[in-house]
């Protein structure tokens, strides 16, 4: 999902929410302020903007719809509770939410047994009629399956860097580590992914390219 800072929103009372940067207050900060003030539409607008982020990153880390739903609901619950005391100008709300959602996902990963390649979903077979679109979909499945084999911190860093498209400093803030540690985690994660995916080149169409 593209970051939505910078969009202009309208509160239920018709109050226009300034674009990010215009007043130093992001659109999400403004919505959270409206929510804390009791604006009846703010909860829905914050949900539509932020819950998909929490759901998506949890789904990428866990590969499980039910668990991603639980995490999205729990992360948003924490946001509702934090709203009255939220300090504008501190951490971006999306950064804060990434941290909450990925930490909740990491907690769940630590309770799971380690995965194996046998747990990975099967990709489509190579019968006649299999086309490039299916190969592309299979690549996504294969990548997601390989991600599940990574240690939790590597997986978190790779998901945030290469799938969510965040910059290393923001990832460092989310993971509460230094930028160098993020670089190390993503590099190791990439190497592990390359190794895991190398065995699937033929079935994923790389023999032809």
């Amino acid at each position: 999902m593209a970051q939505q800072d910078g969009q202009v929103g309208v509160g239920s009372a018709g109050e226009e929410i300034a674009p990010a940067g215009a007043t130093g207050e992001s659109a999400e900060d403004a919505l959270l302020r409206l929510y804390a003030a009791g604006d009846s539409a703010a909860a829905r607008q914050l949900t539509d903007r932020l819950a998909p982020l929490a759901y998506r990153v949890a789904h990428r880390m866990l590969g499980d719809t039910a668990e991603a739903e639980d995490i999205a609901q729990e992360a948003m619950l924490r946001l509702w509770r934090a709203a009255p005391g939220w300090q504008p100008g501190g951490a971006r709300i999306s950064t804060w939410l990434y941290r909450v959602a990925t930490n909740l996902a990491t907690d769940r990963l630590r309770r799971r047994r380690p995965g194996t390649l046998d747990d990975a979903p099967e990709v489509a077979d190579g019968r006649p009629g299999a086309v490039a679109a299916l190969i592309e979909a299979d690549r996504a499945k294969a990548l997601n399956a390989a991600l599940l084999l990574l240690p939790e911190r590597q997986r978190q860093a790779v998901v945030l860097r290469h799938l969510e498209g965040l910059a290393n400093p923001e990832i460092a803030e989310i993971m509460e580590v230094g930028v160098e540690a993020v670089e190390s985690l993503t590099a190791r994660g990439r190497r592990a992914l390359q190794a895991a995916l190398s065995g699937r080149r033929a079935e994923l169409g790389y023999e032809e390219s």
Binding site: A43, D48, Y55, R60, Q73, M76, P88, L143, L197, Y206
Partner: protein, 123 residues
């Protein structure tokens, strides 16, 4: 081993494969948000208007905010008036009463005595 270019193709495919929450989940989350939402209060701007006093700062407004706002202040005033009324009425205990032998054993409290004196003076 897959090279960097190949791995980027995997990442691109995974980025395009976005998991989206269903509408029922969003409805539940928004409903929970509304249930936990603070009560509405007058909306104020994000910063003070030029020439205006500091918002929510010290002095009476700060004190008022600290004790919970106008509703709590109203309760305090009500409780104070009730205490004043009780103090001026006949809660002085047994010693505060006088026995009126000439009036068939009526007990009078301090307020009654004052009221009686005023009435008699008025007459």
């Amino acid at each position: 081993m897959a090279d960097d270019k190949e791995l980027e193709a995997f990442f691109a495919a995974a980025r395009a494969d976005v998991a989206v929450p269903d509408a029922a989940l969003l409805d539940r989350i928004a409903a929970e948000g509304r249930a936990l939402q603070p009560a509405p209060r007058p909306q104020v701007g994000s910063g003070p208007a030029p020439g205006h006093a500091r918002r929510g700062g010290g002095g009476f407004r700060g004190l008022l905010g600290g004790i919970g706002g106008w509703p709590v202040l109203g309760g305090l005033v009500t409780a104070g008036l009730a205490g004043l009324w009780l103090g001026l009425s006949d809660t002085g205990g047994v010693s505060g009463y006088v026995y009126g032998a000439a009036s068939d054993g009526w007990l009078y409290g301090p307020a009654d005595v004052v009221a009686l004196a005023v009435t008699e003076e008025g007459i």
